[in-house]
């Protein structure tokens, strides 16, 4: 197995507060990884750093062992094959559900390509497939802003799938979902893993258990423990700062 993503000694502080502190983390190609940790542990900030939104003060973030992601901007990281679902579901509210997927669909991103773009039959099929997968085919022509919170989560997952990225960063996908939907999300992510690399942040332990994967515990911007869920749950430090609450 080759390494997809390697963070090495990454630190980032905001106004003197170290949100990320000497963080090192390796994720293999095709791996499904859960990241857990208390509020403010730096999970979202870690994703910001990987996706070029935030630049670390020190450290490197290597993509496929060759490209340093700290030199990329958001669009650059996305074009390399990194897709992201946000903690607060962010969809294009005034556009239709279908257009949200169409905009996310993998393909040329240049101005000219967009200006002269014609939707190919293959793209149309793919859009329908994704809408079926996230169960929004009935809402296809609805404005995304009219969807419920849970539906927006699904739409954003659909947008992520449409991008067909090598690495998916999924920040708290289960928030606002019913228990059944939460389990469906877990199944979906397990399916995707293997072909894609997936990093999931979640507070819902049922969900993390359902993912059945290696777990990294972040605390104060640093890796506190790593291993199977049972392994990290047995760690007294983890229990103290997070699970025990």
């Amino acid at each position: 197995m080759s390494i997809q993503l390697a963070l090495d000694g990454v630190s980032r502080s905001f106004d003197g507060f170290k949100a990320i502190n000497e963080l090192s983390l390796t994720v293999e190609k095709g791996e499904l990884r859960a990241v857990i940790g208390p509020n403010g542990a730096g999970k979202t900030t870690m994703m910001d750093i990987i996706t070029g939104k935030t630049r670390p003060d020190t450290g490197s973030v290597m993509w496929n062992q060759t490209i340093d992601l700290t030199e990329q901007d958001e669009a650059g990281a996305a074009r390399l094959g990194i897709g992201r679902k946000f903690q607060k579901p962010t969809v294009f509210e005034t556009q239709s559900v279908e257009d949200n997927i169409a905009l996310s669909l993998a393909g040329e991103r240049s101005v000219w390509a967009s200006l002269f773009h014609r939707r190919s039959p293959a793209e149309a099929t793919r859009i329908t497939e994704i809408l079926e997968l996230v169960r929004l085919e009935d809402q296809r022509s609805d404005q995304a802003g009219d969807l419920s919170h849970g539906q927006k989560q699904w739409l954003e997952i659909g947008m992520l799938l449409a991008q067909d990225p090598e690495l998916l960063l999924v920040d708290e996908p289960a928030a606002g979902m019913t228990d059944a939907e939460t389990m469906r999300t877990a199944d979906l992510l397990r399916d995707i893993a293997g072909k894609h690399t997936v990093i999931v942040v979640e507070h819902d332990m049922e969900f993390v258990r359902a993912l059945d994967c290696r777990v990294t515990v972040l605390h104060q911007g640093h890796v506190l423990a790593e291993g199977s869920l049972d392994h990290v749950s047995a760690n007294p430090e983890v229990v103290e700062v997070y699970l025990g609450r």
């Binding site: 996706t51 669009a75 946000f86 556009q95 967009s114 802003g145």
Partner: protein, 384 residues
Amino acid sequence: MGLIDRRMGIFLAGLFVLTVAIPYGNLAMSGQPVPSYVVSLLGKYLCYALLAVALDLVWGYCGILSLGHGAFFALGGYAMGMHLMREIGDRGVYANPDLPDFMVFLNYEALPWYWHGFDMFWFACIMVLAVPGLLAFVFGWFAFRSRVTGVYLSIITQAMTYALMLAFFRNEMGFGGNNGLTDFKDVLGFDLQSDVTRAWLFGLSGLALAAGLLIAKAITDSKLGKVLIAVRDAESRTRFLGYRVEEYKLFVFVVSAMMAGVAGALYVPQVGIINPGEFSPANSIEIVIWVALGGRGTLVGAALGAILVAGAKTLLTGWLPEVWLFALGALFVLVTIFLPKGVLGLIEGRQKGQSASRERAAARADGVDLEVRPEELRGEEVKS
């Protein structure tokens, strides 16, 4: 779908009737029911309408609230004005075959280098597009790359037009100082005072407006248009999908500036003068009011707004000149509060029989957004 939907179809049909009927009433009917001054006045409105469409393209669809679009209009106007000045030739007061009157008056020895080529009509036409386009490109390149957005962007566009106004007021700039360029005689050999030439200019303005509307519609209907709306509504999200937001903004800003330049170029021969007043910040703000009043993000609404407000201005400044600015301000406030979708939203809402509250709720989603988002204020995330 198609380029000409119902809204666009009705407007273009109306525009066509107007561009045929007005010259006909002026030139061909006995008793001249349409006086000549009305032809030029309406031609001026059509130029304003094109300018409004240009602004709607960037503001309505991409969220770039430019408070300096008057600058692109004025630059297009100056480019055309320079040609008209050269075409006067030796018929000026000082009868100098090369130098326009104001240059003789200011003791110029020779034509400044940047006036060369403007004796040729085609060259002036290229400059009408190139000068506003280039300014928009350079300005946008710096502004969008450094991720200046929202109120800050609006302020620097305003500063841009203000700086240009001050520069053009100076005699040393070589554009006629505060008098600007005027006393034009003819264009391509046609007398600018003649009714036939004026009718042609009016017709061309109508044609340019139709072309501008269709170009803007084609852009906004394309996938690029959807990316623009995505940028308007969730700029950061768009970046994470791999779109280089600054490139999209730059494209639409440059296209819009060129469109504004064409509007200015058609405006100048019809009003017979271009002076630095056209750069005044108030002018640019008025364009925003046209668009807001007509209906932001609808193109046709923007054109309609420009014509309505300009018409109201002509009437009101005739009757009660002191009242105009207050009336304009009041109109703007009332429209933003009661008609967030503008006049077009009112008309179309009536037709569909939709309840006003629903209209308003829908409008709020894409209404006027002058808010500063916290992420924009976090200086450290801004990359250059």
